[in-house]
């Protein structure tokens, strides 16, 4: 009798352990929403962003000891939440501020995400983050640069990326160094599209340069998605500026490169402002005829075996394209968000918000070349910064400035094809 009793107890115990084990196997997941342009004119950027976030999920959710001390990589899942896995629900903003907001609402109320990231176009980030603010859900943005985003007095909005004022400072400092090295940089021309991105970046560059006593000799605005850019190139050809700063999306950037070759125009120095010139399609399409183009970036692949090199490799495997700065900034923002959730040890939005506010990451904890990540009271990362990179072999950008981060020295003048 007693024996039977014991057996019964053992059975019950083993069943309950199994049940508990089962419950344990049904891991906790943390749901995060990501709203990107997955169709429409900016779909190329959105699809790359999606691939970048998926790589970040892989790094966080699976053990990656090869990453060393890189945050969230070593063990599987978020340690702060008992190894909970991160699940991302992607949504398409279709390039429309209205759709972006609808999708943000759906992710918050139906998918019950604990935080949001996105949405590439500044106008859509604006409307999508407005709904997150109303619901009290953290929104971490990694790539939208419009100045007004952090001027709204929002408490749930955080922006990791550098903004136009930071870019302008980089260009000014870089040109100062080049001038000291004997390169002629007296007359600067700006070529920019008339989108919110092109207009705001160019106007900030103009005012920062002016404050430092450097005037802009030529300012050429053009309508985005141009069918033809010959007149812009011919204007440049006529005015012969020493430095041309290009602020363009991928479609126009490709057309500029092709047209410059066709009209045989090579300025002594071209500095591109990220976006279009960082798009992997740009290098694939016209990299061979854009040798020596300088570009602003916060991303560099780094030495083999480093976390950034590993990320670059994983990303290439996932998307078939090289990692670019925009995808990198989005991925960095996602890491910041997941890091905050990990530190909060909770999926309570208020606790995540508090953890985001307390964020203080050092450069060696980042994949991007920022000086760190620390948010001011408006939610802007005050330590965001960038490097100048150059397309030297027609296939890959290498860091050339500032000296501390440079892998190679800048090669001037612009070589073209």
């Amino acid at each position: 009798m007693r024996f039977k009793h014991i057996i019964g107890l053992l059975c019950a115990a083993s069943i309950s352990v199994m049940l508990a084990g089962h419950a344990f196997a049904q891991e906790k997941t943390v749901k995060i929403g990501a709203v990107y342009p997955l169709s429409g004119n900016a779909a190329s950027a959105g699809v790359h962003a999606k691939a970048a976030i998926e790589v970040a999920m892989d790094i966080i959710n699976n053990p990656h000891p090869e990453f060393g001390n890189f945050p969230l990589a070593k063990n599987a899942g978020l340690a702060g939440l008992g190894g909970a896995k991160v699940e991302v629900v992607f949504a398409d903003n279709q390039g429309s501020p209205a759709t972006g907001q609808n999708q943000a609402l759906r992710l918050i109320t139906e998918e019950k995400v604990v935080a949001l990231t996105g949405s590439y176009q500044s106008g859509i980030t604006l409307t999508a983050s407005a709904i997150a603010e109303k619901y009290g859900i953290p929104f971490v943005n990694g790539e939208s640069v419009a100045a007004n985003l952090t001027e709204r007095g929002f408490k749930w909005f955080f922006r990791v990326t550098p903004v136009a004022a930071d870019f302008a400072k980089i260009y000014y400092e870089f040109l100062k160094d080049m001038k000291a090295a004997g390169v002629k940089t007296d007359s600067v021309a700006l070529v920019h599209d008339n989108t919110e991105y092109g207009t705001s970046v160019s106007s900030v560059i103009t005012s920062v340069f002016k404050d430092n006593g450097q005037s802009i000799a030529l300012d050429i605005a053009y309508a985005v998605n141009a069918t033809d850019v010959q007149s812009q190139i011919l204007q440049l050809k006529e005015k012969k500026p020493d430095v041309v700063i290009m602020i363009a999306y991928a479609s126009d950037a490709i057309l500029y490169a092709k047209t410059m070759q066709a009209l045989d125009y090579k300025p002594p120095m071209i500095i591109a402002d990220d976006s279009g010139y960082s798009d992997p399609s740009f290098i694939k399409s016209v990299g061979k005829i854009s040798q020596g183009v300088l570009n602003r970036s916060s991303w560099s692949v780094g030495p083999p075996g480093s976390p950034t090199a590993l990320i670059a490799e994983m990303y290439k495997k996932k998307s078939g394209d090289e990692m670019d700065d925009t995808a990198g900034r989005q991925m960095q923002a996602f890491f910041v968000l997941c890091g905050a959730i990990d530190r909060a040890g909770s999926t309570d939005p208020a606790k995540i918000q508090a953890a985001l506010k307390a964020t203080d990451l050092k450069p060696d904890q980042l994949m991007m070349g920022y000086k760190g990540i620390k948010f001011d009271e408006k939610g802007q990362n005050v330590l965001a910064s960038g490097l100048v990179i150059q397309l030297q072999d027609g296939e890959n950008y290498v860091a050339v400035w500032p000296k501390a981060n440079a892998e190679k020295t800048p090669v001037l003048p612009y070589k073209g094809w």
Partner: protein, 330 residues
């Protein structure tokens, strides 16, 4: 009598919708349907009843949206102030562009309105006062109820429903007046209408101005709900096309056509985006495009025409000559 019964059942369902489908997304979906139905119904007056296919109505939509956001951004007023301002501006603009373009016939009118819309979009994109490419935003945190910035879509739903009722009421009144008679005559044959003494130019212009004013209300409501307008979302040609295809899909020139079109297309677009958009493979629009193609192919007169014909068929075994005639209108 039966018709009245059906109408009241449908009306009751429409009023009760946000209570029956009460998640925030469903309520918002309902509000969006009504919003697009307002715009498409406004378009319907000139595009459906008068047969003047304007592809430039987004100009008036934009007037309303910019007036609402401008009232807040420049004068710290309630965006509601933008509604009358938007109406005045868009009626004035419609008169300015209506006089030269309404002389054009058929496709030339459509193309001229596209050109006007693109021109206005380009001008606004380069006008600093209107926010240029960055756009104008509404109140981020509502100061009072007149800012019309709500978390829930419920107030929007009933506000839009009231405006839609007003729009449909005006449309019904016009359609059954002498003006409506002229408009239909112009649609069927402008030359014949003129020879019978209908003041074609004046009637078309009045319809255009009325339609413009109502469209601008839709634009203002849109901007209030989303709290933002920029050249692409307020003046992009795609919005004109949406108004047009909603009216066409439901049944252009029919009172409830645009509402039916919006009730099909808006959920189709949103729900297919919910299900397929996150994959990033463009499948949302493959599905959306395919369904539109199928409807156009098999029901070129619009969904409501099919319903009408079915009802007519049941009443008398013979197919109604009227329904067929309308479906084949040029």
């Amino acid at each position: 009598m039966r018709r009245l019964l059906w109408l009241s059942v449908v009306l009751a369902l429409v009023v009760a919708y946000p209570l029956l489908f009460s998640t925030p997304f469903q309520q918002r979906l309902g509000a969006l349907v009504l919003l697009y139905a307002i715009a498409a119904s406004a378009w319907n007056i000139v595009g459906g009843y008068a047969g003047q296919v304007s592809v430039g109505h987004v100009v008036f939509f934009g007037c309303g949206a910019y007036a609402a956001m401008g009232a807040y951004a420049h004068f710290a007023l309630s965006p509601l102030v933008g509604i009358p301002v938007g109406i005045v501006i868009s009626v004035a603009i419609s008169a300015i562009i209506g006089v030269p373009t309404l002389r054009l016939s058929g496709h030339y009118f459509s193309m001229a309105t596209i050109a006007v819309a693109e021109l206005v979009r380009l001008i606004v994109t380069n006008t600093g006062y209107l926010g240029a490419a960055v756009g104008l935003s509404g109140p981020t945190v509502p100061r009072n109820v007149f800012d019309l910035s709500f978390i829930s879509a419920l107030p929007y739903y009933y506000l839009f429903l009231a405006v839609l009722a007003l729009t449909l009421g005006i449309t019904w009144w016009i359609a059954n007046s002498r003006m409506g008679f002229y408009l239909r005559a112009i649609r069927d044959s402008e030359r014949a209408a003129r020879s019978l003494g209908a003041p074609a130019s004046r009637t078309k212009l009045y319809a255009f101005m009325l339609s413009a004013g109502l469209t601008s209300v839709a634009g203002a409501l849109y901007a209030m709900m989303f709290g933002f307008v920029d050249p692409e979302s307020g003046l992009g040609i795609l919005i004109s096309v949406k108004m047009l295809i909603m009216a066409a899909l439901g049944g252009a020139g029919l009172l409830f056509g645009p509402l039916v079109g919006a009730a099909i297309l808006v959920p189709l677009e949103e729900i297919s985006n919910n299900l397929l958009g996150g994959k990033g493979a463009g499948l949302t629009f493959v599905l959306y495009g395919a369904i539109i193609v199928l409807i156009a192919r098999f029901q070129p007169g619009g969904i409501l025409m099919l319903v009408k014909r079915m009802i007519a068929k049941r009443r008398s075994k013979l197919p109604s000559a009227e329904a067929r005639g309308a479906a084949h209108a040029p």
